[in-house]
Amino acid sequence: MRTIYIMWQREVKRFVRSKSRIVGSLGQPILFLVALGYGLGPVFAKAGQGNYLEFLAPGIIGMSIIFSAIFNGMQVIWDRQFGFLKETMVAPVSRLSIMFGRTIGGATVASAQGVLVLLIAMLAGFRPISWIGVVPAIIMMFLIALLFSSLGIMVASLLKDMQGFQLIMNFLVMPLFFLSGALFPLDNVPAALLIVARCDPLSYGVDALRYFLIGSSTFPLALDIGVLVLVSALFLGLGSYFFSKIQI
């Protein structure tokens, strides 16, 4: 327990201290909200889909969470390169608790970023349908963050260095984001795209966020939560397995 706590605390401390990282990570969501939200808004309205900013905001929250969570997980690679990982690997504690602490810490940081993006979206004119809905929305954010934080650690455990980083970015993170329905409604997309989106866990995360924040969703809420919980558990398990196999 103490191990999980101290590893969690480390992630949170590092985040709170790096002001530039916080500000930097908010740049992209702001750009997306402004450029797409205001830019495509009129087209979206004309197509009879309503307010695009409202539709987009949960998607952008999801985006900031998946980016932040996967990067936090991949912090393992830096720790491997710069030695700190060894300090935890020779410690007389189970690797499982180290991995859990890191994952939960990374997820906490990513959810905090999600909440920040929610606040920024509200500055841009977004209003959640009800304030009570914000609480379960934050829980959903944490679930999404947990899922992708474990995925990040899993990927990082398999990579030796940052060489494969671009690969992960272009073939994992970007597709997960763009094909998730974060930017467009999945209701009337071509069947092939819908199948792909249905295989993307982020689709269910964003859908659940929309349910609580704007009161509309594509999938049933139970399906969203079920998928998030199951896939999180799966990735947490796989992440722990690969993390425990790291040899330095």
Binding site: T3, R10, F82, G83, E87, T88, V90, V93, D161, I248
Partner: protein, 268 residues
């Protein structure tokens, strides 16, 4: 004296490559033991196996009576280690690094505070304890790592090239700490170095490994006698030859070169 590190027929293979080939040696409790060898001789691989980071292909190891493979946590409690590369979290303060170590090793919180104060005083970093490690010099980082390695009161401390890149003043200082610890606390010291005069001056016993095999061991005097040379450096060269060993640049080195760029751009 009792044997505290006991290595029998230890072998490590990576595919067809034999990094460590059937070595046996033992270290007595309270010894200062120098483990020497040219680059790529098998030193680091051996240390990794001794410190539970890597599993032997064959052979047995006992660290303080515990097998690092089957009883890794007990073995891990028995030693502290200062790695060749710094392994501190640079974004935390000195104090936070020590607290984190204390938590990982299960040092009770009330004892932890006094121990941290004692150790920081020992390595003369008390006034810098709330500073970030990234602002420390190489010597200060090493001293902090030594303090950290001792925090859980280990029986053995492993020092893997602890003086690499340090100036003579800091090196001198560091070895006086280590010798003092060895005398006062009876802690067993196992170290590697490329500075032969250090090994000659500090070590009570020396083992030389080359091409994965131990080619000589004993006190410095015994090695000098065996090779009829006058310094350990000459003895070392006589035993291991003059050919220069090249180590392939690892991805770690490449990453380190890019590190400054990354931190500058993204983290600060």
């Amino acid at each position: 004296m009792a044997t505290i590190i006991d290595v029998k027929n230890l072998t490590k293979k990576f595919g067809d490559f034999v990094a460590v080939n059937d070595i046996s040696f033992s270290v007595e409790a309270g010894d200062i033991f120098a483990f020497l060898g040219p680059n790529g001789a098998g030193k680091s691989t051996t240390i990794k196996m001794l410190t539970t980071l890597s599993h032997p292909t064959k052979g047995t190891i006992l660290i303080n009576g515990f097998n690092p493979v089957t009883n890794s946590d007990a073995a891990r409690h028995s030693f502290g280690i200062v790695f060749q590369d710094p392994s501190l979290d640079e974004d935390l303060t000195a104090l936070e690094n020590l607290k984190l170590h204390g938590a990982l090793y299960g040092v009770p919180t009330d004892i932890l505070k006094t121990r941290i104060d004692e150790l920081l005083a020992l390595v003369e970093l008390s006034d810098r304890k709330n500073d970030f490690v990234k602002d420390f010099s190489g010597g200060m980082k090493r001293r902090l790592e030594i303090a950290r390695g001792l925090l859980h009161h280990p029986k053995i401390i492993f020092l893997d090239e602890p003086t690499l890149g340090l100036d003579p003043q800091t090196r001198n200082h560091l070895w006086s700490y280590v010798q003092k610890l060895n005398e006062d606390e009876g802690i067993t010291v196992f170290f590697t170095t490329h500075y032969m005069e250090e090994a000659e001056r500090v070590a009570k016993r020396v083992a030389i490994i080359d091409h994965g095999t131990i080619i000589a061991q004993g006190t410095s005097e015994e090695l000098l006698q065996q090779t009829s040379t006058s310094t350990l450096e000459e003895a070392f060269l006589k035993l291991t030859g003059n050919a220069i060993r090249d180590e392939a640049s690892s991805s770690t080195d490449k990453m380190r070169q890019n590190h400054g760029m990354w931190r500058g751009g993204n983290r600060r």
